[in-house]
């Protein structure tokens, strides 16, 4: 789809979230709620003894029924629908021909670790802080957006062999 048209579509989805649910979109928070519910199921004493984990379960709350958890399940379903409609469903490793599959997968994994870690620290990633933050004129959103994109240009030079 034309990028500007896709942007309008994404903007309408974001505006819908604001009008219907009084909040923006998010992604990294959904990862956290999934992890917190798994830890809660596997090791309940660990959760009770941790100040950080326990707040996600207080007053009978369930992280698995959180807004963000359901939303990221929707993202997977929506991506699948779009891929099916546009004929893009295919199992493959996408990478530069100059690097090995192993190298691509290791960097992808490490990138995921860092992105969600940083996203939790900043209370939001590209969706929750940068995009949704800018739409509500949040100063935090603008600062996080500049920190992500600004530093990415520096890291892009360091890791250029992975991509170009």
């Amino acid at each position: 789809m034309n990028p500007y048209l896709a942007g309008i579509l994404l903007g309408i989805v974001l505006l819908t979230a604001m009008v219907v649910s009084g909040r923006g979109l998010g992604a990294s928070g959904g990862y956290k709620y999934c992890v917190v519910s798994i830890v809660g199921a596997v090791d309940p004493p660990h959760v009770e003894n941790s100040e950080y984990y326990s707040k996600y379960f207080e007053n009978g709350k369930k992280p698995l029924t959180n807004w963000l958890t359901l939303e990221i399940f929707g993202v997977v379903a929506g991506g699948l629908i779009s891929g099916a409609v546009s004929g893009r469903l295919k199992l493959k490793v996408e990478k530069s021909p100059k690097i090995s599959v192993t190298r691509r997968l290791i960097f992808a994994f490490l990138g995921g670790v860092l992105f969600v870690y940083g996203g939790q620290l900043a209370r939001g990633c590209t969706s929750g802080a940068a995009l949704s933050g800018m739409a509500v004129l949040s100063l935090a959103g603008f600062v996080t957006m500049i920190a992500i994109f600004g530093s990415a240009y520096v890291f892009a030079w360091i890791f250029r062999k992975n991509w170009i």
């Binding site: 830890v39 996408e94 996203g119 209370r123 590209t126 969706s127 600062v143 992500i148 530093s151 991509w163």
Partner: protein, 201 residues
């Protein structure tokens, strides 16, 4: 009257259903934008494909203009819409860590999920890493708690800190976005890498 969830006091099941439906729209829009391709996303940082900036800023100004108009006509109470809390240190440090994650991984958490859904194996590795990162964060939180909560400013709005009205700031944002689109179109020509972009078609 909006946000609707508080006006009509949505029960939990309806909140969960709307979250799921909004997620479908989100995933669909990201995938249609071409964000299920890490080499397309990375193009933003080497100049050969600037789809990221076009989609990102178009979406931001559509939601911004839309919400400002709805608020102006009294249809949306912006005081009830969540505004991100500003922790100065955490926003900057977290942002830089995310910048590294973006270049190493080629995805952000939302686009990673969306690429995973259409079968990208590198995206599956990214999402697995994302879960590991969330686990690492919750486990190391006591160690970094001081830094994570340092220099807290509250839910500050950028236009207020600049002494501008929301409408005027929105206008400035739109002008800035148009300028960036123009630069982005020029960059794509200057830094074109047909050997990569033809591969992605």
């Amino acid at each position: 009257m909006a946000p609707l969830s508080s006006y009509f006091a949505f029960p939990e099941w309806l909140n969960m259903l709307t979250a799921f439906l909004i997620g479908i729209g989100f995933g669909f829009a990201l995938e249609q934008a071409g964000f299920s391709s890490s080499r397309k996303l990375a193009g933003m940082f080497y100049g050969y494909d600037t789809t990221v900036i076009k989609v990102f800023f178009t979406a931001a100004i559509v939601a911004l203009i839309g919400s400002q108009f709805l608020s102006y006509f009294g249809l949306l109470n912006l005081n009830q819409v969540y505004v991100n809390e500003f922790y100065v240190t955490a926003s900057i440090v977290g942002g830089v860590i995310m910048g590294a994650g973006f270049i190493m991984g080629g995805f952000c958490p939302g686009t990673g999920l969306c690429a995973m859904s259409i079968g990208k194996i590198d995206a599956m590795a990214f999402v697995a890493g994302g879960f590991a990162g969330a686990f690492l964060f919750t486990e190391t939180y006591p160690l970094i708690e001081g830094m994570a909560n340092a220099r807290y400013k509250g839910p500050v709005k950028i236009n207020e800190s600049l002494g501008l009205s929301p409408g005027l700031f929105t206008l400035i944002m739109v002008a800035a976005a148009v300028a960036m689109f123009w630069i982005a179109e020029l960059a794509e020509k200057k830094f074109a890498r047909p050997e990569i972009t033809n591969d992605l078609k």
